[in-house]
């Protein structure tokens, strides 16, 4: 199961003094981030790996030499070779094709989970950190309920009630990851709203919505981004763990996690069944983590020298 739901607890990288506002400045800032990122070698490696993974997810199915679910009864556990570049699995299906299709499921699950959980979690965290008081108390207690709830029970219940398909898997994982984003966003918001420029904005009488979205939100983004890259990596792993427990994608469809889980008994007979998805998961997770670390470094104002 998801062994842990990690949270990026880095202190908010608030910019002392300057509000991050106004279009042109943000573009310039974005460029600077990119430039700094390019200077970080591990960050570049991360970006390349993530790029490859995204490419596989987008175009993988077009590159696949076979129908990933087509059983070749004569090719059970066939070794890598001319017919099957990366070998065939226990049902005689092409491992390469399955890995390419699996990329789409694994990465789509990861990205959608992070986007949805991020959007909901950040909104909740932002509002409760800004409003404080009763709103904050109630929202955070609800988050506590979600957070303290065993991931597995939640996932099993959602999947059992709605059925085991990818959409429901995503719903389950989104529920699991919302509180992490909410906590990170809230913690950052709490300290950002103490900054002089927010007080200034309030004093001038700017509407709350404008303060929230133009001044607070951009300044809480760095830790949220780090949280996003960690969560993305974890979502891919959790999908693998759920597949191990029989709660992942439904056969015959493949995800990297389900390939790993069903290939595991053949570790000695046909190592490629596990090597291929295992390496794919490893490189993708590695990529997202390296990119996350680099982003964190680049976005931290104190290190920007």
């Amino acid at each position: 199961m998801a062994e842990n739901t990690p949270i990026a607890m880095s202190a908010p990288a608030s910019e002392p003094g300057l509000p991050a506002d106004a279009g042109p400045r943000r573009t310039r800032r974005g460029l600077r981030v990119l430039r700094n990122l390019m200077r970080d070698r591990t960050g570049v490696v991360g970006a390349v790996l993530v790029g490859l993974a995204l490419f596989a997810a987008l175009f993988g199915p077009l590159l696949a030499p076979y129908d990933p679910n087509l059983i070749h009864p004569d090719a059970r556990l066939a070794a890598p070779g001319a017919r099957f570049l990366l070998g065939a699995d226990e049902l005689g299906r092409d491992v390469l094709s399955r890995a390419l299709h699996g990329a789409r499921i694994s990465i789509v699950v990861g990205v959608l989970v992070v986007l949805c959980a991020g959007a909901i979690g950040v909104t909740v965290g932002l509002l409760s950190g800004y409003a404080k008081g009763l709103v904050d108390g109630v929202a955070m207690r609800v988050m506590d309920v979600l957070f303290a709830f065993p991931t597995l029970l939640l996932a099993m219940a959602v999947v059992a009630v709605l059925g085991t398909d990818m959409r429901n898997l995503i719903v389950a994982l989104v529920l699991v990851y919302i509180p992490a984003f909410a906590r990170v966003a809230r913690a950052s918001t709490l300290s950002v709203v103490e900054e002089p420029y927010i007080e200034a904005a309030r004093a001038v009488g700017l509407p709350h919505r404008r303060i929230l979205f133009r001044y607070v939100l951009p300044n809480i983004m760095p830790p949220v981004l780090v949280q996003a890259t960690i969560s993305l990596a974890y979502a891919i792993l959790v999908e693998a763990s759920l597949s191990y427990l029989g709660l992942g994608v439904q056969p015959p469809d493949a995800s990297w996690g389900s390939m790993l889980a069903t290939g595991k008994p053949y570790l000695e007979l046909a190592a490629w069944l596990c090597m291929v998805p295992g390496l794919a998961i490893m490189l993708t997770v590695l990529g997202f983590n390296l990119l996350g670390d680099a982003l964190r470094d680049v976005l931290d104002p104190r290190l920007r020298r």
Binding site: P73, L245, L247, Q250, P251
Partner: protein
Amino acid sequence: MSVVPRALKQVAGLALVAMLMTACSNTSSDSPADDATPQRGGTLRMQLVRDTAGAGYDPGKTTESVVYTVDSLIFDTLLEADPNGNLKPGLAEKWDISSDGLVYTFTLRKGVKFHDGSDMTATDAKYTIDRILNPDTKSPRRNVFAAVKSAEATDPTTLVITLSKPYSPLLNVLADITAGIVPKAVVEAKGDGFSAAPVGTGPFKLVEWRRDQQIKLAANSAYWVSGQPYLNGIDISFNADSNARAANVRSRTIDFLWNAPPELYSVLKADKSVRVAGGSGTTSFQYMLLNIQKAPFNDVKVRQAIFTALNRDEIRTISRPDTTATLNGGFLPDGHWAALSTPVNKFDVARAKSLLSEAGQAAGFPLEILVLSGSDFHVRTGQAVQQQLQPLGITVKVTTVDSAQQQQRLRDGSFDAVVTGFSGTLDPDERLTQTFGTGGGTNYAKFSDAEVDDLIAQGRATTDQAKRADIYRRVQQRLAETGPMAFTYNYNFFDVMTADVHGYEFNPTTVNYRSLRQVWLTQ
């Protein structure tokens, strides 16, 4: 072993299986070292998959294989089935059947003691049967004993069972561990607590049970087979991961792996440091059940089309190439005394298509197959069936469910099809009555066919083995043609042990590990 007593010959119904002797002789254990003199002592570290016991190890309430296994070590039955299915004396030294087949008289072994030191008498045997029949016990075996009118202890060593109608499977039913003899006084004193602290006459007694963690068994020094058991005890642990379990026996973390994962058969077979026992001879079978209460599966032509479209050899090699045998007639494998060996539904896609259009379903239809998640070989079969039914325009969706969900949907009838398996029964009657007879407990598709019911009843009333075999072949033929399920293949458990384990004899008849009483360890 002192086998084949005169008593056996008295029973016409047990002229049984002389032919099986040859068919299954390869299932017993081999290893040259086994000829050596057994050494005493040592504790056998044995590993099972999961501790699935409910309240505990009450034989009368046994429903699944882990409890079967442990019960076969703690309890004894009146009769025992040897690996070839022959019945031989257990707690009953001999038995006699009246000519009308209604009265069974058993002479019990003298001097057998329960683990608490009390004597085992006919009163306990009578109590065991009365208890299963008593609705308050909530025994899942109640309906198997339904033909029993009364059980009486006429003296301390004589048990008389009277039937309301002839029931030839009775002896086999009594040899099943679910009919293990329990001590009347202890059960009455402990009530529901008996399950967790069972007392029997078996070769081992339960010392400690830590749910999901460990079951500790110690040798019963007063066991009625002299000299046995050789072991001091058995420590049972659990592991649900197939790779880890195989690694455990190969690294000697355990000595004996129960029901090893079929995916690892060839790896374990090739590993010279361990020995594999079993892998054939059982009557467990995999099947695909169609819900005949639901359109279009209520149309026998549609069912026949599906049965004919299945390439069972291919299913077997894809799903579970080792320790299996293709079935294409009945549910009993070749070599069984009642097996139907002529194929009934020969693989023929063209014929399947024409059957489907005769049924007005030429365009095909969607079909959802439920499979148990975690039972990898059933999941693989589901996927093979999915591909094989494609040419008929039948679009299969494979859905994995957990056990609770599968059982509920089977009982509710809320399914199209299920791929799963039944474990073997000592007598074919039990499977037939319960699964294909009208109103049978595990007849989940509510199949009801007068001819089948009639043949089942004939089989029960017939004691002559050859005649019974003929009746059962006819039932299986009828089932294969019109029944609710496609039998795909027969599958077999196998056990793996280190080279230090000697004397083990795999018993394929049911889940039965009593032969651990004759197992010894190199000291």
